[in-house]
């Protein structure tokens, strides 16, 4: 059985699951279990297909349906790049299904008939879009399956008018993207071709790739326009500035949290998948002189830099948990785009110089690795936000606080995810950003603008850290808010159920695993490049695997940079033990006490420092970036008490409780 057949089976399992789950939707638990079973089965099949391709190379493609009159054929082909995305989709979708089991209980007033069937269709659409090779009919079917199903999921809470609005925006954005991509494909398609002894239809990826060198020679302008269409179309999907801002921050918070995790962790990655395919896999090495021109490389790296800065700066001003995360998704996609841009910028010089080729490959490693890591930690963050939403019933960070004690598992996993997305060493975000930065800084000898991009990216990493200290601190640390205290009084226990905890813990382990052993991630990408030999990817697969130093250390060929996480872990652990020992030297005893609030202890809700107040002196310089807008989830009163604190803590004596 080839990988393509297995993938067909995985898609079929999801589609069948969507049908089977319909009659049992009245029984909430059973529906969740059927959904979980289907997701796990499909996930196992997809992961199996992905792993077999990574290990043994792509098998025979599978052609389902040929439509010569339309120039299309539904051909399934799993290569290394697809395999990486398949693994990601399989992992996140299975965990999202596990999380949904208990999470969907708090939507008692909404029928699950609007949830589980679409969940399965959505997952099937995502599996299909990364393995289909046809860029017209096949692409259209998969894209619409993915889009329409997720549209239904975004408007799941249809009684809130802002969710319907968000869903409609999302739908329009995706249809525009679809039209752009199809138009791009139509411009590039030259006619049927025979590639490697096989006849390929007009719109098949292989046929288009085959015709590219001719097309570049004769009508370069047409290729430019087509690539622009691809960049815009896939860019809209990936949340690239300025298009991402149109739909992403509205759609992600509107969907139920497991769906937000899927949207942000996986679905927007299909946009990056499309960009990687169209800029690296479509063009052959012999056409490199004509493609892509210097302006293109500058444009992609520049767009990536703008996207990461703007998205993160806008995120810094958010007060709604899921909206904050959504803006960070835009920011993090910027890093991935920057990696792709750096890779393209270094490739032409890389053809002549093996060392530069190594850097180009390193940039691509960073880009794809960051896509994987972002999938893991951002889904985890959305699940964390979902746990808080289901426990406290609000997305408003101003009304949260002191959840560390009542929700320890959620708190610790959220801390791990926050440190990962901020790129703190020993967590997975650091490993991928490291390779991206190393490639760009060392590559600036050939493309000087990359060094500027890196400085902006490093600055943005600090902004990300600031934003997540706010996210984590305002919700889990700080002081217990009135809303939290009220919930504890009425429900007793706040921590989410076992299955939700299990989903969060699994993802947190993933963050640590890739952080401590980044070599494992590099190996996956190395295999992915080696098992998808087409276009410029052949070039990228050529330099040796990032040299391993020490146990799980990584270093680019030539050893001009290095990172050995295990040694850093040991040294840091030793200093931590030393610090703990020093603090015990005096043998003092600890005593719990009340914090000192200048005698205004009774007004604790009024003088809590809420999320609204963080970093105002910096963010006010960036009001022109926009992004706040009238927040649909903003509850009355939160802003007022926060302003009282801003005016001077403890001065509000009008409170009746004093």
């Amino acid at each position: 059985m080839t990988a393509a057949t297995v993938m067909l089976a995985a898609c079929c399992v999801s589609l069948v699951g969507a049908v089977v789950v319909i009659p049992v939707c009245r029984n909430r638990l059973l529906a969740g279990q059927v959904n979980l079973a289907a997701s796990v089965l499909a996930g196992l099949l997809a992961a199996g297909a992905g792993l077999s391709v990574l290990a043994g190379g792509p098998g025979e493609p599978l052609t389902l349906l040929t439509m010569p009159e339309y120039g299309s054929a539904l051909r399934i082909h799993v290569d290394g790049l697809s395999a990486v995305f398949l693994l990601l989709i399989a992992l996140i979708s299975a965990l999202a299904a596990l999380y949904s089991l208990e999470y969907m209980e708090h939507y008692a007033e909404y029928s699950l008939l609007r949830y589980y069937p679409y969940f399965q269709l959505f997952v099937a659409g995502m599996y299909a879009i990364v393995v289909i090779t046809d860029l017209m009919a096949g692409f259209f079917i998969c894209w619409q399956l993915m889009t329409l199903a997720s549209y239904a999921l975004v408007r799941f809470e249809y009684r809130k008018v802002e969710n319907i609005r968000a869903a409609n925006r999302y739908l329009v954005a995706m249809q525009v993207a679809c039209a752009l991509i199809l138009a791009g494909a139509a411009m590039l398609a030259q006619g049927p071709a025979t590639v490697g002894g096989h006849k390929r239809m007009r719109f098949d990826f292989d046929a288009i790739s085959h015709g590219m060198p001719d097309l570049l020679r004769h009508s370069g302008g047409l290729v430019t326009v087509a690539l622009l269409c691809f960049l815009l179309g896939f860019g809209i999907k990936a949340g690239m500035w300025p298009f991402g801002q149109c739909w992403l921050p509205a759609a992600h918070p509107a969907a139920p949290s497991p769906i937000s995790a899927l949207l942000s962790g996986v679905m927007i990655k299909t946009g990056m998948y499309g960009l990687m395919r169209s800029f690296l896999w479509l063009v052959r090495e012999d056409a490199l002189a004509a493609f892509p021109s210097q302006a293109w490389r500058l444009a992609i790296a520049g767009l990536g830099t703008i996207t990461l800065f703007v998205g993160t700066m806008q995120a810094l001003r958010q007060e709604q948990s899921k909206r904050l995360l959504a803006f960070h998704s835009i920011g993090q996609m910027g890093y991935i785009l920057l990696g792709l841009g750096a890779c393209l910028a270094l490739l032409p010089a890389g053809v002549r110089d093996e060392g530069v080729l190594g850097l180009a490959a390193l940039a691509f490693y960073g880009s794809l690795f960051h896509a994987m890591n972002h999938g893991i930690f951002k889904s985890l963050l959305f699940l964390n936000a979902g746990s808080m939403l289901s426990a406290i019933g609000t997305q408003d960070l101003n009304r949260l606080g002191g959840l560390m004690r009542p929700m320890p598992t959620t708190a610790v996993t959220a801390l791990i995810a926050s440190l990962s997305i901020s790129g703190v060493p020993l967590f997975n975000g650091f490993a991928s950003k490291w390779s991206l930065y190393v490639a760009a800084i060392l590559g600036s000898a050939h493309a000087p603008y990359l060094a500027l991009c890196v400085v902006v990216a490093i600055l943005t990493s600090t902004l990300t850290l600031a934003s997540f200290l706010k996210f984590f601190g305002a919700s889990f640390l700080s002081r217990r808010s009135a809303a939290v205290a009220e919930r504890i009084a009425s429900r007793g226990r706040l921590e989410v159920g076992r299955s939700m905890q299990a989903a969060q813990v699994t993802l947190a382990v993933g963050c640590l695993l890739f952080g401590l052993a980044p070599l494992f991630g590099y190996w996956v990408i190395q295999r992915a490049l080696a098992t998808s030999p087409q276009g410029l990817a052949i070039l990228l697969a050529r330099p040796p695997l990032i040299a391993a130093t020490g146990l799980t250390g990584i270093a680019p060929p030539g050893g001009r940079a290095l990172f050995v996480p295990l040694v850093v872990l040991v040294v840091f652990g030793a200093t931590l033990l030393f610090a703990a020992a020093v603090s015990r030297l005096g043998g003092v005893h600890r005593r719990a006490a009340e914090p000192w609030l200048c005698g205004y202890a009774l007004e604790s809700e009024q003088n809590r420092y809420t999320a609204h107040n963080f970093y105002r002196e910096v963010t006010r310089y960036f009001h022109w970036l926009g992004g706040t807008g009238p927040s649909p989830h903003r509850e009355n009163g939160a802003g007022r008490s926060a302003d009282a604190v801003a005016a001077g803590a403890g001065t509000n004596t009008a409170d009746p409780r004093t």
């Binding site: 000087p448 890196v454 902004l463 600031a466 002081r479 001009r560 940079a561 040294v571 719990a592 310089y621």
Partner: protein
């Protein structure tokens, strides 16, 4: 010129010991000189050692709702600054250079800041969180300055390895190292802020925020945080010396150490004089100042990329 494993361990122990011993001494000098400038007698130079020892034996009050995080934050703060001291050369090679590069250094420096912020958040007092927010704003605008200085060095020498970067690299391979000189000026102007001294001690701001993130801490935890603050002078000082004034570090063993000490002493005196004669800035004034420095450092980076 790879040093052996044993030599690296020795250097590492030496660095940690240097930080542990020097930090309170410099603090003592700082206090004494400040007092003299302000026509006071001032405490003896050894006073900070006694302060720390005394704090280690004082009762430990925990006011936050998550005391575990408070404890962890205190340990992390010392662990982070000591780990950074292992990445910075102090009179020898950087001991941990086979495990990480310049980018790890940039991130570990940021991590030093996180620990105080975590402490402020966990303490749960409004003042602590105000202080934390201020600290983060300072980190946001200051950290890129160091990053730019390091990246200019990296671009010049074409390598991220610490032993090559932390060796006067911003001046390397340029006839007139304009970018390096600009970054030297920027770093000197920002040093006061890096180590959180007047006029930039906005995070702690005793007179308005009552020590900010640290106001709820006492006993051994306060000792660890106070020590970390003192240690920043040594670590950041050594880092600037290594980046911009590494002369003498190649000399045989005791001489290079003495050279470093002399340079650090000059830095401490300069910091003290500024601190003793300036009043604290408001947070918005400080941010504007930092943003100005950030602009200058961007200009320096562009110059460096153009080969100056």
């Amino acid at each position: 010129m790879e040093a052996s494993f044993g030599v690296r361990i020795l250097h590492g122990v030496l660095n940690v010991a240097l930080v542990l011993v020097l930090a309170p001494l410099f603090e003592g000098i700082l206090r004494k000189v400040t007092a003299r400038v302000q026509s006071r007698q001032g405490p003896p130079v050894w006073q900070p050692y006694f302060d720390l020892l005394k704090l280690l034996g004082k009762e430990d009050l925990e006011t936050g709702e998550s005391p575990g995080v408070q404890r962890l934050a205190a340990w992390l703060s010392l662990a982070a600054i000591l780990s950074v001291s292992l990445l910075v050369p102090m009179g020898g090679a950087s001991p941990l250079s086979p495990a990480g590069d310049a980018y790890l250094l940039i991130y570990m420096l940021t991590f030093c800041g996180i620990t105080t912020m975590l402490a402020g958040l966990a303490a749960g007092s409004t003042y602590s969180v105000v202080g934390m927010s201020r600290e983060m704003m300072a980190v946001m605008t200051l950290e890129p300055l160091l990053a730019v200085a390091v990246i200019i060095g990296v671009v010049r020498v074409g390598s991220l390895r610490l032993d090559e970067v932390l060796n006067g690299s911003p001046y390397a391979h340029a006839k007139l190292p304009l970018a390096g000189l600009i970054m030297l000026a920027v770093s000197v102007l920002a040093l006061q802020a890096f180590i959180g001294r007047l006029p930039f001690d906005i995070t702690e701001a005793e007179t308005e925020l009552m020590e900010g993130p640290l106001m709820e801490y006492s006993g051994p935890k306060l000792a660890l945080f106070k020590f970390t603050r003192m240690a920043k002078v040594v670590v950041y000082g050594s880092l600037l010396v290594a980046l911009f004034a590494p002369w003498g570090s190649g000399l045989p063993a005791p001489v290079n150490l003495l050279a470093l000490l002399a340079k650090l002493l000059v830095l401490v005196l300069a910091v003290t004089l500024v601190a003793a004669t300036h009043a604290r800035y408001r947070i918005d004034q400080a941010i504007r100042y930092y943003l100005g420095l950030l602009g200058a450092s961007f200009a320096a980076l562009v110059l460096a990329l153009a080969g100056y």
